[in-house]
């Protein structure tokens, strides 16, 4: 790249609109296919992950609206449902099979496709090379493959919705025997085969992505970017990748054994089973609990795979928009590390009531409650970062603060659930639903929204509309609490999760009105997400243009690239780093980018 290219990049965005990113094209010619479809540019791959994740978020969210309709109005019929779902909503009421299929697919899709691929897939791809100062990922080719494996997984999962016997309906955890025996339920037939194929492809995608993220962070940091100068986003994405690389293979093993149980007459997970209409099965000697161990050995790290990227982005956004250094940088890194280690040592707290040895249970209680320590460190550090800050309430900042609020609210109930004695009462109730939706689901969505609002100017060279952003934030924030807060009371009253119709139980009749209220809010919140989608796609083409290179006054390297960086990110030399990412308000300067050399008279801190 020549100086001319640098100047050109600064000369105004308008020329870019007309000519595209031609200034870097004397490297290689890009066609539509290589630029937008089989792209090897990490920024484009990030956008592919993001938009695919958004499609899944709409599908998964719509599913929750449909089953909330059943939960809120169990006695009513909606003729339009039959038009939409056909035989799955005969007479305008969702059938029990369809209800379970919706719940299962909602969980699978949101956990894996939206909050894993859509969240860390997007931001690991987008931010790692930009923030460590690399031209691209270690292996752009494997990175591209990672997206396309995810795409294939998506296609297979989507097709499972349309098979005659319906998608898998045994819950997102896919416990055997429902997942192992085709005869167990309609969804256990072809739907489950497709589910497992899709998930296997997803594991491959996640492995390819994770290896790339790790190699890039360790090997491709620019000169001066020592590990302790990295923004916390990168630390969080690093631990996320390590968690994924070490936990998904265990799930993969579990799936292979499941495939054999389904198709080849083995009994790894099966023993002493009687199916109505078929009689006793010959399978002997297997253990359904074994699957649960293998599943939750992934399943628990998975919640941190979802949460850590959100934590990292929130740390960065809070610091930038408070115009203050992040409080306790090393404590933040240390707590991320502690969470990553503990993530592997707590999985059996999902299994307290399976007949686990109570002594073993007590060990898992201890290890689970230990997670409260690094989590509390993080919360205090976020609050102290905000404390007396010069806060700019951008939509990204609002969502970051919302994340902290949700993480506290949802995290505290984790202390309840981590106690095996309390868990006997709370297990499989709406209390659990409330807990994990707030702390993992909504909080991570907030982290994702914060990231999108904050980095949208870097992604597309335009801003999202702020007014729509504030509406989106407030309705989602208030709505999330209105949906999930009441569920705590339902759960404490013993209301179990996954039931089709609570109105037939005397003890849960008191919640009919409350359930209807929750369903109503859920629909409003879903509608507001469509508003966000409108904002997103409208702003890509028509949003306010970014005129300055560093609109947030941020220290990190991605804002030293041109407003619309081409493949390779920096025209000319890669920047050298001279300081950490959090020199805000130092020595009377509002911010000092990482590329600024340390002055002779600069203070230590």
């Amino acid at each position: 790249m020549s100086n001319e290219a640098v100047l050109h990049a600064h000369s105004g965005v308008a020329t870019h609109e007309v000519h595209g990113d031609h200034h870097h094209e004397h490297h290689h010619h890009e066609t539509f296919i290589t630029k937008y479809v089989f792209s090897q540019d990490h920024k484009m791959i990030a956008k592919q992950f993001l938009i695919t994740g958004m499609v899944w978020a709409v599908i998964g969210g719509l599913m929750s609206v449909l089953f909330r309709l059943q939960l809120g109005y169990p006695e009513s019929t909606f003729p339009w449902l039959e038009d939409l779902l056909g035989k799955w909503a005969k007479g305008g009421r969702i059938t029990p099979e369809a209800y379970y299929a919706l719940v299962t697919t909602h969980g699978t899709v949101l956990v894996f496709f939206v909050l894993t691929a859509g969240l860390s897939g997007t931001f690991a791809n987008f931010l790692i090379p930009l923030q460590v100062g690399a031209r691209d990922m270690a292996s752009p080719f494997l990175n591209m493959l990672s997206y396309w494996f995810f795409f294939l997984a998506s296609v297979v999962m989507l097709s499972s919705i349309f098979v005659e016997t319906g998608p898998f309906s045994g819950g997102w955890t896919a416990y055997p025997p429902l997942s192992a025996l085709g005869a167990a339920s309609p969804g256990s037939k072809t739907g489950m085969d497709l589910w497992i194929i899709s998930m296997a492809l997803f594991v491959v995608s996640s492995l390819l992505g994770g290896l790339n993220y790790i190699a890039t962070i360790l090997n491709m940091r620019t000169k001066g970017m020592s590990m302790t100068r990295m923004p916390l986003t990168i630390w969080a994405l690093f631990f996320t990748a390590v968690l994924g690389v070490l936990s998904f293979p265990v799930l993969f093993s579990g799936f292979i054994l499941l495939i054999f149980d389904r198709n080849f007459g083995t009994s790894f997970y099966l023993s002493d089973i009687f199916i109505a209409g078929q009689g006793a099965l010959p399978n002997e000697g297997g253990s359904a609990i074994l699957y649960q161990h293998l599943f939750w050995f992934l399943g628990h790290p998975e919640v941190y795979i979802i949460l850590l990227p959100a934590m990292g982005m929130v740390s960065e956004i809070l610091s930038v928009n408070s115009r203050k250094p992040i409080f306790g940088y090393m404590a933040m890194v240390g707590s991320l590390f502690a969470i990553a280690i503990l993530a592997f040592l707590v999985w059996a707290h999902h299994m307290f009531v399976t007949g686990l040895n109570p002594f073993l249970g007590s060990i898992f209680v201890l290890l689970t409650l230990l997670i409260a320590v690094p989590s509390a460190i993080k919360v205090f550090n976020w609050l102290t970062t905000l404390w007396r800050g010069n806060i700019r309430f951008t939509p990204g900042m609002m969502f970051a603060i919302g994340f902290v609020s949700l993480f506290i609210s949802g995290g505290l109930t984790g202390i309840w659930l981590g106690n095996s004695a309390l868990d006997i009462h709370l297990h499989d109730t709406y209390f659990v639903i409330a807990h994990f939706h707030i702390v993992m689901g909504v909080a991570s969505m907030f982290g994702m929204f914060a990231g999108i609002y904050h980095w949208f100017p870097k992604m597309y060279g335009r801003y999202l509309n702020n007014t729509l952003g504030y509406v989106h934030f407030w309705v989602t924030m208030i709505g999330a609490y209105l949906i999930f807060w009441p569920m705590h009371y339902e759960g404490l009253a013993g209301m179990p999760r996954r039931y089709y119709d609570y109105s037939s139980w005397e003890s849960f009749k008191q919640f009919i009105e409350l359930n209807r209220f929750i369903s109503t809010v859920a629909m409003i919140v879903f509608a507001v997400q469509l508003l966000f989608l409108f904002n997103f796609f409208y702003s890509i083409f028509k949003g306010r243009k970014v005129k300055t290179q560093n609109p947030w006054g941020s220290n990190t390297l991605e804002w030293t690239t041109p407003i619309r960086p081409g493949h390779g990110n920096w025209p000319g030399e890669i920047p050298e780093v001279h300081r950490w990412a959090y020199d805000y308000g130092k020595d009377g300067k509002e911010f000092i980018p990482q590329t600024t050399p340390v002055g002779a008279d600069e203070s230590h801190h």
Binding site: K223, G254, T266
Partner: protein
């Protein structure tokens, strides 16, 4: 926070690989860790089921034959020892191939790669014979003809785990052989000579040693214990 001190020249200071390896080798190491977790999960599952089951067949009784053995031959562990020996020797030839690569000795690389490939194929052949032999005795996924130590009927999980885990390992050996064949072709076509280094062979070697190492654990769990 030592933001004010410059860190050029430091190992972790950025601008270079802290482990002094290029990214591909780093990715291979992390992949092998990941794969180790896959095998670990399999073997721990096997252990869990086995130790919660009352009886288990005696490996000395199950694995007692060899090709062209007379009827009723009783040679426990002989054949599998030969298999294991072949695989370990193939690891040695792989080391020699990598070493020759360091010295840019194309001819020796080719010879040792061929020997490694032959070793891998021989191991797979042995495994095919053993599977076929066990199958002829009535063993397969979901079928276990072998009795427990104490003569009672055993659960099918003995054969279920045996075929699944040795099969998964065999698949790894098979893909290792394919990788080595690709390395051989690339060597013969002077790809590495032109690049000036045989780094790819080193990475293939890492994978091959890993597959051998896993076999030691699989061998111990199924044939010795």
């Amino acid at each position: 926070m030592s933001t004010a001190t410059a860190t050029p020249g430091k190992l972790w200071g950025g601008g270079k690989s802290p482990f002094n390896v290029e990214y591909g080798k780093l990715m291979m190491w992390y992949f092998l860790m990941s794969d180790a977790f896959t095998f670990g999960a399999f073997l721990i599952s096997y252990g869990t089921v086995r130790f919660s089951t009352n009886g288990w067949p005696d490996p000395n009784e199950v694995f007692r034959s060899y090709p062209f053995a007379p009827e009723g031959a009783h040679a426990p562990l002989v054949f599998v020892s030969i298999m294991t020996f072949i695989l370990i020797i193939s690891s040695v030839t792989m080391v020699l191939a990598v070493h020759a690569g360091h010295n840019m000795d194309k001819k020796k690389v080719v010879v040792n790669l061929i020997l490694t490939i032959l070793g891998g194929l021989a191991f797979l052949g042995c495994q095919a014979w053993e599977w076929n032999h066990l199958h002829s005795e009535g063993a397969w996924w979901g079928h276990n003809p072998f009795l427990n130590h104490d003569g009672t009927a055993a659960s099918t999980n003995f054969t279920n785990f045996f075929f699944t885990i040795t099969g998964f390992h065999g698949f790894h050996v098979f893909s290792g052989v394919i990788i080595n064949i690709i390395m051989l072709i690339m060597t013969l076509r002077d790809v590495f000579e032109k690049r000036g280094h045989y780094l790819m062979i080193e990475k293939a070697g890492l994978y091959w040693h890993f597959v051998d190492l896993v076999w030691v654990f699989v061998f111990t769990c199924f044939y010795l214990i």
